[in-house]
Symmetry: none
Amino acid sequence: MLKEERHRFILNEVGIHNRVLLTDIASLLDVSVDTIRRDIKELHNSKLLKKVHGGAISLGFNNYNPIGKTVYSLEEKSRIAEKGISLIKEGQVILLSGGTTNLELAKRLPSKFKLTCFTPSLPIAVQLLTKSNIEVIFIGGRLSKDSQIAIGGSAINMLSEIKVDICFLGTNSIHPVEGLTEFDWEIVQMKKAMIHSSRKVVSPCISEKIGSLQRFKICGVEEIDVLITELEPWDVKLDAFKNMNIQLL
Amino acid sequence: MLKEERHRFILNEVGIHNRVLLTDIASLLDVSVDTIRRDIKELHNSKLLKKVHGGAISLGFNNYNPIGKTVYSLEEKSRIAEKGISLIKEGQVILLSGGTTNLELAKRLPSKFKLTCFTPSLPIAVQLLTKSNIEVIFIGGRLSKDSQIAIGGSAINMLSEIKVDICFLGTNSIHPVEGLTEFDWEIVQMKKAMIHSSRKVVSPCISEKIGSLQRFKICGVEEIDVLITELEPWDVKLDAFKNMNIQLL
DNA sequence: CCTATTTTTGCATTATATTGCTGTAATAAG
DNA sequence: CTTATTACAGCAATATAATGCAAAAATAGG
């Protein structure tokens, strides 16, 4: 059995049961406890679950405890968010997908002028509701426990009925050849619909996600109008994007 | 059971009841009192609750105030919520409107069996997302800043496409002759749509709202199937409702 | 196809964490 | 003041984590 398979299995179990025991997984997959321990350590480091004594537990939020929510790259995310905000003009209609970068962006949206803001993300909606100058429209649908965004047909339907000025598309993986990819199929569908509903697509993306690859494809890089990263313009990681028709910030 | 799980459980209990007894938790989770004591000490050190002699209390609890009307009506709301929950059966599909009473109800929804839960209320959705046994579907739409629920055509559209087993309709004013009334026109529209989408309408309603009247009418009393209040059955305030076809709890 | 190199895995060992129990001190309540 | 309950410290039993190492498997280069 491949390591990747085990990782998926573990994440799946955590997704379903919110917790797993080291020993259970080991016997289910018929490998040693050490192996699973190492797997969980890796997943923990990738912030996909929380390693605890005896097993692992979902990051899934619980109102009260800010477990492991120490956002590493908060600083970079802030800078990216600020850049993103500079693209917004008074009175525009914007669409925010989920993700922590977009949440940072939402927090920083200006209170100077009116905006209309669509989002399928619960935390972002909560954040935006505190701002009196922003009209918030929630894209409804079935809520995904881990990503905390609405997914499914109903949400995609609602997206199909709108056309916004700018979409800020939180991005898990962007690759110069393969384009944007995602781990979760339902989220792929959502993101496709979001791109379709937007005149301009902006992808705020911290550098560690550039060049990575996941299972499902959302779209090619050519669908993205603006890529915002914290990297310096001459960084080698960006070379591959340079002769495409993408604005780099 | 993992330590982290106990921690979450305790925090959850504290969140709901504002206080917990060491011994209760210990017997509920079937571990020794010492273990829970140590758990609570850790949570206390992380400033997630306040350790007190014999148990723990929520951090905000003291701030609320000792003479507290808030706490008083919270207690009643809890009782009403518990009653409401007793109406729910395994696997049902329910619809929760907004309001603090429904939020209390959402917090207390059982984790024993699967449920599907529609709601246009942001705080309720946030609450429900923490429960792994409940599928949450958010009724999307423009979010009202003060009531924090989705309103407007899009939300009403989405409501028109569903039919649920029970609707818990948070109620601002109920009057034996005039029926249910509301202050806000948009919310009236939402509630009308919710009633229309439900086989059974339950109105959890603390007594101070009985007999009061607001500007716009939602529906007559006859549309309500069950009225839950904290009043005793012989209370004079309820007389007017008695010869109607309403179940009083 | 074969071999060198790297990665992955399981096992043994040692270190650490968790838990319940004991006895004793502290605290609340009458 | 007395009594019952709760808190705490220390201890032992058990479970889990970390580490180093060797065998097995995968990978890369020729």
